[in-house]
């Protein structure tokens, strides 16, 4: 049985995680016997913070630990929501570390599906709805990728018209 379980990887990010969990639940209907990994990777804000402090010459460099339970809390909420929506899936959570897009891409090696959210310009359909680190994962993932709008998708009217010079016009 273990061999045939559907493996779904959900990239949990602030702002998009609820929509991603809902999409993941659709991928693991009852009876499919799926396992879902909820993955959260903090961005490099902590490095930026320590770099900004390096610019202050001579002043104390007291380490300021940023409360790191935000990620654990986020994963716990995602797990609870998925448990409500897809009770019979085997759910696990993981907090990664390192360059976000590389960590998520590496995790796709052991997944059948990756679910991730659009974090860019959400007012119109188009490539700018996918930000740079998400784009990297979409381009390099090994498995199938499900890309989710965090809210209702913008209308088809936001798609640019066919260019005037296009011969198919």
């Amino acid at each position: 049985m273990g061999e045939s379980r559907r493996r779904v990887l959900v990239w949990v990010e602030p702002g998009t995680w609820e929509a991603c969990v809902h999409a993941a639940a659709d991928l693991v209907p009852a009876g499919v016997g799926a396992q879902v990994l909820l993955l959260y990777v903090p961005d490099d804000s902590d490095d930026l913070l320590s770099d900004a402090q390096a610019g202050l010459w001579g002043r104390r460099r007291r380490p300021q630990p940023v409360a790191s339970d935000a990620g654990a809390e986020l994963l716990a909420d995602a797990q609870a929501l998925l448990h409500d929506l897809a009770g019979d899936a085997v759910i696990s959570t993981q907090q990664g570390s390192g360059p976000v897009e590389r960590v998520v891409t590496a995790a796709t090696e052991n997944a059948d599906y990756l679910v991730l959210g659009r974090q860019g310009d959400l007012s119109r359909r188009g490539p700018s709805s996918i930000v740079r680190h998400t784009r990297f994962v979409v381009d390099h993932a090994r498995c199938r990728v499900v890309i989710v709008w965090p809210d209702a998708a913008p209308s088809a009217g936001t798609i640019p018209p066919l260019p005037k010079e296009d011969p198919r016009r």
């Binding site: 490095d47 390096a54 104390r60």
Partner: protein, 414 residues
């Protein structure tokens, strides 16, 4: 002689950037200061007079850093974080506005150090708790630590150094700088809103619980301290006394209430830092007197016209970006002071806002950290540098133009 003191200055600056074995910057600066006197690049009398001039300034900074630390121990920054989290109601745009208010006020009142060391970590934690992308808020706080440090003489060490040279009172300084301060903050806000327009629309979660109440006592002491700066300045009393008084009042109360111990307060005084600034000041003075001053003096603009002021700011920004704003301001102040107070303020706009061009304050620090660090932060560097390129030149030009306009009205173009 210029070769000797110049080489020593380069050595001191390189040591401060590289910090071999994590040794304090003063380890190179103090012996270098002694050497410039021993070899006769600066007379003992001149060195002593430089130290006497710098001493009140660095003592002031030590006091204000203690005030900041004690405000943190009393929960002021935790309270601010909770207020930002609750006030944002889950909206990234609203959170950004609140971060702007908090970072501008903290920088102006408690100096840029407090924003970088105490507020920015709270901003990051708040953005993560609200579950919105943290970058725009982190960038805002890091940028404003520099660009919102124009308002008061106490907002930045460079301002304190300049206050004496400018011969302005505390209030005159603030009056001349309030409009440039607002203009520069406005530019930062506009650029961040535009650049992160999409990330800021993602919804987070509203935070309702707040466990910290406003620590009233520290807030009142800081308020009284601000009024004290104005009064002391009009009476010709050094601001260091006022900040020192506030630090003592807060420290006694915190020790009595067992929030801190006397021992834990000692590092807050930053004694290695004080000795570093004094040592650096002496070495820079030797270089200036050895001929660099005369050389820069030929390059330096004269007059208080808009173009001259822009050149002063550009000179400040370039020098600050090469190494650090501290040596930049020490080098330029004696020259700008000859021209007048408005030229001094233009230099300040340059050395305070300029460091936002690179995200660690200067090219030297940036390069060194790239060499020294083994983790890959290339994306972040690119992102932050683009943001710096978008805001810094515009802020410099608009800030200096505002200063020129205000000074023309207030001082009649003095």
């Amino acid at each position: 002689m210029l070769v000797v003191s110049g080489s020593l200055l380069i050595l001191v600056l390189a040591f401060a950037v590289i910090r071999p074995r994590g040794l304090p910057e003063a380890v190179a600066a103090v012996p270098a200061a002694i050497v410039v006197v021993v070899v006769g690049a600066l007379s003992g009398h001149e060195a002593l007079s430089e130290i006497t001039q710098l001493l009140p300034v660095v003592l002031f900074l030590a006091a204000i850093l203690v005030v900041g630390d004690l405000c943190e121990a009393a929960g002021v920054f935790r309270w601010a974080g909770e207020q930002m989290g609750r006030g944002s109601r889950g909206s990234g745009k609203r959170l950004l506005l609140l971060v702007f208010v908090a970072a501008s006020v903290v920088t102006a009142v408690l100096s840029l150090d407090a924003t970088v060391v105490l507020l920015t970590p709270v901003v990051l934690a708040t953005a993560r708790a609200v579950r919105v992308p943290a970058k725009p808020h982190l960038y805002a706080s890091a940028h404003l630590a520099n660009s919102a440090s124009l308002l008061l003489p106490v907002s930045n060490l460079t301002n304190l150094l300049a206050l004496h040279a400018s011969k302005l009172s505390f209030l005159q300084f603030a009056l001349l700088m309030v409009v440039p301060w607002l203009v520069v903050i406005g530019i930062e806000y506009g650029v961040l809103r535009w650049r992160f327009g999409s990330e800021l629309t993602l919804r987070g979660r509203p935070l309702t619980t707040t466990s910290t109440r406003l620590p009233v006592f520290p807030a009142v002491v800081v308020g009284v301290m601000l009024v004290g700066f104005v009064v002391a300045s009009s009476l010709g009393v050094e601001s260091a006394w006022v900040a020192g008084g506030a630090a003592v009042v807060l420290a006694v109360r915190a020790v009595v209430r067992k929030e801190v111990t006397v021992r834990s307060l000692v590092p807050s005084l930053n004694i290695p830092f004080i000795t570093f600034v004094l040592g650096l000041g002496v070495v820079v003075m030797a270089v200036v007197q050895g001929g660099l001053g005369a050389f820069l003096g030929r390059l330096a603009p004269t007059g208080n016209g808009l173009v001259s002021l822009l050149l002063w700011a550009a000179l400040g920004a370039v020098l600050a970006n090469l190494v650090n704003n501290l040596p930049a301001v020490l080098l330029l102040l004696p020259l700008a002071a000859v021209v007048g107070p408005v030229a001094v303020l233009a230099v300040l706009i340059g050395v305070n806002v300029g460091p936002n061009l690179t995200y660690v304050g200067s090219l030297a620090t940036l390069l060194w950290r790239r060499i020294a660090s083994d983790n890959d932060h290339e994306i972040a560097i690119g992102e932050f540098t683009i943001l710096g390129l978008l805001t810094t030149p515009a802020s410099l030009v608009a800030g200096v133009t505002a200063l020129w306009a205000v000074s023309t009205v207030v001082l009649g173009g003095v």
